[in-house]
C-alpha cells in the first residue's frame, strides 16, 4: 500500500505500458484475451485516479512552488546532465490526469469491434496512454519532451494501419506537423537548459519549476527579443497540437481517417496537451512575453472559434464536422487563457475537461453510425430519429452539450471564458460570441438533416445502439450533465492553482 501511495503517478503512467508488454507475449489468435488484458490495463489507473481524487489537497496551488506539488516522485535519472525523473500533480494537471484515465479506458472498450491485428492495436493504444499520462505528470522538461514524443509513434501507426481510405496521407501529415513543433520545442528546451542555473546546485537543470523562477535566468535569457523568440518556438509547438489556426490543417485529415477510438483520444486528450503545455510551460516561464502576447493569442482564439465553426458548417461529412467543431471549441480555451483573469483561466481549463468528454461522446457516436451505415454523409441519412430512438437520444444530448446549452458542462466553461475575458478585450469577445451562434446553427442543422424529416428507406432497418456502445457513452453523458449543473467538484480541483498561475503571469507574486 505504501508503495502504491508513494508511486501512484508512476503506476498510473506505466501500468498501461506493462499491459502492452503482456499483450505482446500473448500467442496469436487469442483476440478476446488480448482485449481483456488491454481493458484491465487501462482500467487499473481508474481506481488510482479515484485515490488521487480523494487525497488531493485542493487548498495548495503548486504551479511554480515545488513543495506544493502532490504525489511527487523525484529521482535522479542522468546525473551528468541533471535529467531527473520528476513527477507531480497540481491543479493544472489533475483534471487532465482524471480525463486521461477515463477516456483511455473508454477508448479500449470502444475498440472492442476492431478485428484487424488486435494485438498490435491494443499494445499501441496502451503505449499511447502511457505517453499521455506521462506528459501530464512530468515536471522535468526532458522527461516531458520524451513522453510528448513517445505519443507520436503509436499515433502514427494507429491512424496509418487502422484508419480510413486516406490513412497513409493523414498519418504522415500528423507525424510531420507534430515533429516540426516538437523540434522547435527541443531547441527552446536546450536553450533554456544552458541559460538557467539550478539555485541549489549551481549546475544546469531541466527542472521546469526552476525555469519558472525568473532569477535563474542568466543575462542572455533576460533579453526580451530572445525571450520572444523562445516563447514563439514553444507557442508554435503547442499551437500545432491544439491546433490553432493556421496550424490546424492536419486535424481534419487525422480525425477523418483515424479509427473511432483514436479520434476519441485525439480530440479528447491529445489536443488538450497543447493548451496544457501553454499553461504549464509557456505562461509561467515567460510571464512577461505572455502579457505582451495576449492580444495576438486572443485574436487567434477568436479566429479558431469563428473559423472552426464556419468550416464545420460547410462539411457534409459528420466526422469532419465534429473535427472542425473541436477547432472551434479549443479556441475558447485560448481566449480564456489570454484574458489572464482567474475566471478566464478556470474557464479555459474547465473547457479542456468538458470538451474532452463531449467530443469523446461525439466521436463515439459518429463511429456508431459509421459502423452500421459505412458512410458519414450528413445528407445521406434522414429521419433516423424514428428508427434508432436511443441513439438519437444520445446524439441529441451530445450535440446540445457541444453547442453550449445551459445545463451541460460546455455552457459553464464557455460562459466562464466570456465572463473572464469580456472585461479585457471586448471587441474580440463580441466577435467570438458570434461563433456560438454558428456553432449552434451547424449542430442543429446537422441534427435536423440526419434525424428529422422523412425517413431514408435505405436505413429503415438500421440497428440500434448496443450495450457496449452505451457503456462508453453513458458515463460521459452523465458527467457532462452533472458538471453542467454543479461544476464545483472539478472547479475546486483547479481553482487554487489557476489563480496562482494568473498571479505568476501577472507577476503579482
Amino acid at each position: 500500500m505504501d508503495f502504491i501511495n508513494s508511486h501512484i503517478l508512476s503506476l498510473m503512467t506505466f501500468l498501461p505500458l506493462a499491459g502492452a508488454a503482456v499483450i505482446l507475449t500473448v500467442p496469436g489468435g487469442r483476440d478476446n484475451l488480448v482485449k481483456t488484458i488491454a481493458a484491465v490495463a487501462a482500467f487499473l489507473p481508474i481506481p488510482l485516479a479515484v485515490q488521487l481524487w480523494f487525497t488531493y489537497d485542493r487548498t495548495v496551488a503548486g504551479v511554480n512552488v515545488a513543495s506544493q506539488f502532490q504525489f511527487v516522485e523525484h529521482y535522479s535519472w542522468i546525473p551528468s546532465i541533471n535529467v531527473e525523473y520528476f513527477l507531480g500533480a497540481d491543479g493544472i494537471s489533475m483534471p487532465m490526469i482524471m480525463l486521461t484515465t477515463i477516456i483511455s479506458f473508454l477508448a479500449v472498450i470502444g475498440s472492442w469491434n476492431i478485428d484487424k491485428q488486435i494485438k498490435g492495436y491494443m499494445a499501441l493504444l496502451l503505449l499511447l496512454e502511457t505517453g499521455m499520462m506521462g506528459v501530464f505528470c512530468a515536471l522535468d522538461f526532458f522527461l516531458f519532451y520524451v513522453f510528448w514524443e513517445v505519443m507520436l509513434l503509436p499515433m502514427y501507426f494507429l491512424i496509418g494501419i487502422w484508419g480510413g481510405p486516406r490513412r497513409e496521407y493523414a498519418a504522415i501529415k500528423f507525424f510531420l506537423y507534430t515533429l516540426l513543433g516538437s523540434i522547435l520545442m527541443l531547441i527552446v528546451m536546450l536553450a533554456l537548459y544552458f541559460n538557467t542555473t539550478d539555485p541549489e546546485t549551481g549546475g544546469h537543470t531541466f527542472n521546469m519549476l526552476h525555469y519558472m523562477q525568473q532569477s535563474t535566468h542568466n543575462g542572455w535569457l533576460q533579453g526580451f527579443d530572445v525571450r520572444i523568440l523562445l516563447f514563439l518556438g514553444l507557442f508554435i509547438g503547442f499551437a500545432i497540437k491544439v491546433p490553432l489556426f493556421p496550424f490546424h490543417t492536419w486535424l481534419p485529415d487525422a480525425h477523418v481517417e483515424a479509427p473511432t477510438a483514436i479520434s476519441v483520444i485525439l480530440a479528447g486528450i491529445l489536443l488538450k496537451m497543447g493548451t496544457y503545455g501553454l499553461m504549464r510551460i509557456s505562461f509561467p516561464m515567460f510571464p512577461d512575453v505572455t502579457r505582451w502576447f495576449v492580444i495576438p493569442m486572443a485574436i487567434l482564439g477568436a479566429i479558431n472559434i469563428v473559423y472552426g465553426a464556419l468550416c464545420a458548417m460547410a462539411q457534409s461529412d459528420l466526422k469532419k464536422l465534429v473535427a472542425y467543431s473541436s477547432v472551434s471549441h479549443m479556441g475558447f480555451c485560448l481566449l480564456g487563457m489570454a484574458a489572464l483573469t482567474p475566471a478566464g483561466m478556470v474557464g479555459a481549463s474547465f473547457q479542456m475537461f468538458s470538451h474532452g468528454m463531449i467530443t469523446a461522446m461525439l466521436f463515439f457516436l459518429v463511429g456508431v453510425v459509421y459502423d452500421r451505415a459505412h458512410h458519414r454523409d450528413i445528407d445521406g441519412f434522414g429521419g433516423l430519429g424514428a428508427v434508432v430512438p436511443v441513439y438519437t437520444f444520445f446524439i441529441t444530448v451530445a450535440f446540445f452539450a457541444s453547442l453550449g446549452l445551459p445545463g451541460f458542462s460546455g455552457f459553464i466553461a464557455e460562459a466562464m471564458v466570456f465572463i473572464g475575458s469580456f472585461g479585457v478585450f471586448r471587441t474580440i469577445v463580441m466577435i467570438s460570441a458570434s461563433g456560438i451562434i454558428i456553432v449552434a446553427a451547424f449542430h442543429l442543422w446537422a441534427l435536423q438533416r440526419v434525424f428529422l424529416g422523412p425517413l431514408n428507406p435505405k436505413y429503415a432497418q438500421l440497428e440500434e445502439i448496443n450495450a457496449r456502445e452505451i457503456f462508453c457513452l453513458a458515463p460521459l453523458a452523465v458527467m457532462t450533465l452533472i458538471l453542467g449543473v454543479y461544476p464545483m467538484p472539478v472547479l475546486n480541483l483547479m481553482n487554487a492553482s489557476l489563480i496562482r498561475l494568473v498571479d505568476v503571469v501577472k507577476m503579482v507574486i
Binding site: 542522468i78 551528468s80 513517445v150 504522415i172 527541443l186 531547441i187
Partner: protein, 492 residues
C-alpha cells in the same frame, strides 16, 4: 612519452592480433579445399574479437607515442578501436547471413575486411602524416576490392571503379596538402606541425593545406561535396560491405579528422573544455557550412530514392552532417557528442542494413516494394527496422534521439543557432523518407506473399542491435561517461 620499436610491440597487441588473423586467413585460403566453408568467417570473428578485447584492456594512460611517434595510444584511439572492431564483428555476422556473398570465396573476403579494420585501428591512432596517409590507404584499397566483390554484378564493378577513381583523386589531393605542411614546418609529426604553425605562419599555404587535407578526410566520411562516390558505391557493393563502409571507415575518418584538426590548427584553451584556434585558418566556419550542406543534401536526395540501400546511403551522408556539427564547436563537449553519436549510429545503422540483408535474401532486390507488408511477413524484422528507423530519425525513447540531443545541445550552448535550426528542419525532412519505409512495411498490404523466414542467428543479431538502440535511449550515462573520458585524454 615516446617508445622505440621493440618496446612498442607489447602495446600493439590488438593490431598484432588482426595481422596474425589476416595471415592465418591467407593460409586457410591457400590450403583450404572448400573455399565456401564457414571456417574463414569463424576465424575472422575470433580475430576481431581478440583485437577488440586487447584494445579494450590496453592501459590507455597518458597517451603513449609508439614506434618513435608514428601512432599514439590514448583513450581517444582506444574508443575508436573498440567501436570499429565491434562494427566489424557485426558485419561479419551480417556477411555470414548474406546469401549474395554465400557463393563466393570466403577467406579472401575476410582478409579484405580485416585489412580495413587494421587500417582503421592505425588511422584512429596515427600522429604522423606519413602514418595517416598509409593508414588511410590501408582502409581504402581493401575497400575498393570489397565494393567490387560481386564480380558478376555490373553495379558492383561500377562501384569499385568509381570508388578507386574518387579515392585516388582524394588521397592525391590530400598528400599534396601534407607535402605543403611538411614544406612549411619541416616535420611530419602532427603535434610538431601544429607547434610550428602557431608561431606565425604564412596564412595562405596553411589554408590551402587545410582545404586539401579536408578533401581526403571529407571523402572518408562522405561529406558533401566529397560524397559523390558514396551512393553508387553503397548501392553496388554487397550489402554487408555497404553497412561496413557507412559505419567503420566513417568513424575512423571522424577520428583522424578530429585528431588532425584539433592538433594542428587548435590548442586547448584555458576555459573548461574549450579550444582556441591557433592559426589563422577559420576551419570551424568552413566545416559548419559543410555540415549544414551535407545534412541538407543527404536528406533532400534521400527523399526520392526507391532503392532502400541507396536511401540509407544518402541518410548516412546526412548523419555525417549531423556529426560534423560537434566538430566545429571547438569544445570538448562537442567532440563528446560526436563520439556518443557514433556509438548509437553504429547500432542503428548496422541494424537497418541488417534488415535490408534479410529482405534481400528473400527477394534478391533492395527495392522498397519488396518491403511491403513486412510487418506481417516477418514481424520481428519489421519491428526491429521500425526501431532503427525511429532511432535514425531521432525520436525518443530511442538512442538516436539522445545522440541528437547532445549534438544540438552543444551547438546551442556555443550559440550557433542557424546551424541548429538547419539540423532541426533536417530531422523533420528525414522523418518523411524513413516513414516511407515504415509505411510500406506496416501500412501497405504485402505484394509479395509468403512469410519471410528469418533464421535463428539473424534473430539473435537483430535483438543484439535493438537492445542497445532502446537501452541507450533510456539510460545512457555509462556510455556518455566513456565518451567524455576518451575526449578528455585528447585534450591533455
Amino acid at each position: 612519452m615516446i617508445l622505440g620499436n621493440l618496446d612498442s610491440l607489447r602495446y600493439f597487441l590488438p593490431e598484432l592480433a588482426i595481422t596474425t588473423t589476416i595471415l592465418l586467413l591467407i593460409a586457410v585460403h591457400v590450403v583450404g579445399k572448400n573455399r565456401r566453408s564457414p571456417a574463414a568467417a569463424l576465424l575472422a570473428l575470433v580475430g576481431t574479437g581478440t583485437a577488440l578485447l586487447f584494445a579494450w584492456m590496453t592501459p590507455a594512460g597518458g597517451g603513449m607515442g609508439l614506434f618513435e611517434g608514428m601512432v599514439v595510444l590514448d583513450g581517444f584511439a582506444v574508443f575508436f578501436k573498440v567501436l570499429t572492431a565491434l562494427a566489424t564483428a557485426i558485419v561479419i555476422f551480417m556477411s555470414i547471413d548474406c546469401l549474395e556473398l554465400a557463393d563466393r570465396t570466403q577467406a579472401e573476403y575476410y582478409v579484405f575486411l580485416l585489412s580495413v579494420l587494421l587500417g582503421m585501428f592505425l588511422l584512429s591512432s596515427a600522429t604522423d602524416i606519413v602514418m595517416v596517409y598509409l593508414a588511410l590507404e590501408l582502409v581504402s584499397i581493401p575497400s575498393y576490392l570489397l565494393a567490387g566483390y560481386l564480380k558478376g554484378k555490373a553495379s558492383s564493378t561500377e562501384a569499385s571503379m568509381k570508388y578507386v577513381v574518387y579515392g585516388a583523386t582524394a588521397s592525391g589531393v590530400m598528400i599534396y596538402g601534407f607535402s605543403l605542411l611538411y614544406g612549411m614546418t619541416g616535420s611530419t609529426q602532427i603535434s610538431e606541425i601544429g607547434r610550428v604553425l602557431t608561431m606565425g605562419t604564412v596564412p595562405l599555404p596553411a589554408l590551402l593545406a587545410a582545404v586539401m587535407v579536408t578533401v581526403g578526410f571529407g571523402y572518408k566520411i562522405a561529406a558533401v561535396p566529397f560524397h559523390m562516390w558514396s551512393p553508387d558505391v553503397y548501392e553496388g557493393a554487397p550489402t554487408p560491405v555497404t553497412a561496413f563502409l557507412s559505419v567503420g571507415p566513417k568513424a575512423a575518418g571522424f577520428a583522424i579528422l578530429v585528431r588532425f584538426f584539433y592538433t594542428v590548427f587548435a590548442s586547448p584553451g584555458d576555459a573548461d573544455g574549450m579550444w582556441k584556434l591557433s592559426s589563422s585558418v577559420d576551419w570551424p566556419f568552413l566545416f559548419a557550412v559543410m555540415s549544414a550542406v551535407t545534412m541538407t543534401v543527404g536528406n533532400l536526395i534521400a527523399i526520392n530514392q526507391r532503392n532502400v540501400k541507396r536511401l540509407l546511403a544518402y541518410s548516412s551522408i546526412a548523419h555525417a552532417g549531423y556529426m560534423l556539427m560537434g566538430f566545429v564547436l571547438l569544445s570538448a563537449a562537442g567532440l563528446k557528442a560526436i563520439l556518443f553519436y557514433l556509438v548509437v549510429y553504429l547500432f542503428m545503422n548496422l541494424g537497418a542494413f541488417y534488415v535490408v540483408v534479410l529482405v534481400e535474401n528473400g527477394s534478391r532486390s533492395e527495392d522498397i516494394s519488396h518491403f511491403s507488408g513486412l510487418g506481417r511477413r516477418a514481424p520481428l524484422a519489421a519491428v526491429s527496422m521500425a526501431v532503427f528507423l525511429f532511432a535514425l530519425t531521432g525520436i525518443p525513447p530511442f538512442s538516436g534521439f539522445i545522440g541528437k540531443v547532445y549534438l544540438f545541445a552543444e551547438v546551442i550552448h556555443q550559440g550557433v543557432y542557424w546551424l541548429v535550426l538547419v539540423a532541426g528542419i533536417n530531422s523533420v525532412i528525414s522523418l518523411y523518407y524513413y516513414a516511407r519505409i515504415l509505411k510500406v512495411m506496416f501500412l501497405e498490404d504485402p505484394t509479395h506473399t509468403g512469410e519471410l523466414s528469418v533464421a535463428f542467428v539473424p534473430k539473435v543479431m537483430l535483438a543484439i542491435l535493438v537492445v542497445p538502440t532502446l537501452l541507450l535511449g533510456v539510460y545512457w550515462e555509462p556510455v556518455i561517461r566513456i565518451a567524455e573520458s576518451s575526449v578528455r585524454i585528447l585534450t591533455n
